[in-house]
Amino acid sequence: MQHSKTQDTLVGMFVAVGIAALFYMALQISNLGSYSNGDSYTVSARFQNSGGLKIKSPVSLAGVKIGRVSSITLDKSSHEAVVEMRIDSQYDNLPDDSSASIYTAGLLGEQYISIDPGSSEDYLKDKSRLDITSSAIVLEEMIGKFMMNKAEGK
């Protein structure tokens, strides 16, 4: 079996291109490049209705993404949705009386949590809770109410 240098070089190039493609996928295609997966803290909020919110839905403040939803569970005693979100620790100066609302991006887009900052001097810490919340708007419900009002008005 003869040993050929060009063959070695080609194999080396093949492996290098393959690994480069893996890196390309990781950095350019996936969210790994924009991950600040370092430090974050968890904040929870309770909603009457969490609508179409999903794990990993964005959490934004003034339109800037500051974190992601990490879990959505149901509180059995109050029948409310408990949404936990991880917020990047660089945003550690959110007032603790901030409110959280679930909005929809565009008419049919995905739902996200928007945080409106309050005016308190104390800041949110890990495991703290947002008390003022407003639920997701369910389109069918709104249309239903609108139709009812129309019918009653006549």
Binding site: A21, A26, S30, K56
Partner: protein, 260 residues
Amino acid sequence: MLEFLELLGKTARGSFAKLGRATFFLMHVLAGIREVLPRPNLLNKQLYSVGVLSFLIIAISGLFVGMVLGLQGYYILSDFGADESLGLMVAASLVRELGPVVSALLFAGRAGSALTAEIGLMKATEQLSGMEMMAVDPINRIITPRFLAGLISTPLLAAIFSSIGVMGGHLVGVGMLGVDDGAFWAQMQNGIDFNEDIINGVIKSVVFGFVVSWIALFEGYDSVPTSEGVSRATTRTVVNSAFSILGLDFILTALMFGDI
């Protein structure tokens, strides 16, 4: 009726026996890895014939699959006014499904059939028996390097396929159809998760590479040592690989992405 049952029993016994032989074969091949690793030259040669020579077909197919996805996706998405999501659609379908599956199918056709024919012919011309006579284990020397090369090449080829496909989709979507460049990448990066999509895609292609190399090498090793036998074994390799890839893909997808 009795003849039918007899035939059924015979077929079942035959397939079980083959499955058993294939399993022992696999054990032997895996045990041979220890012997191959100290001799990287053996592996290098196979990486060349299995991986490097498959590169071109994978790259060109990836480019065209990506370009077609860009075109088709654009026509459907623009009906809903969602043509910015084109990047996400192209990348998700490539990384999750088409990359691993199509590159494994091409790999089975390009490299798997060649492996079966090579091993089958070695058996037919009694080269394998010749090695045994010289007290060289043909499985360690011939089969295991090829198996390892297949196992290493497929994930790399799938990654190349997906990356070039995304570039092809970008070429058509942004270059020809006028989708916004920023939105194309932003939607993609928002929607594709590293652990969930990319790692799962790589796991899929490793599984496919394992199965295709196993089938190809076993069919060659188990073939009837005549020209007809080798030709049948080659056909069986391609057919069985395609079945196993598509069947396993369903199972893996259900395990990874479904909530089963």
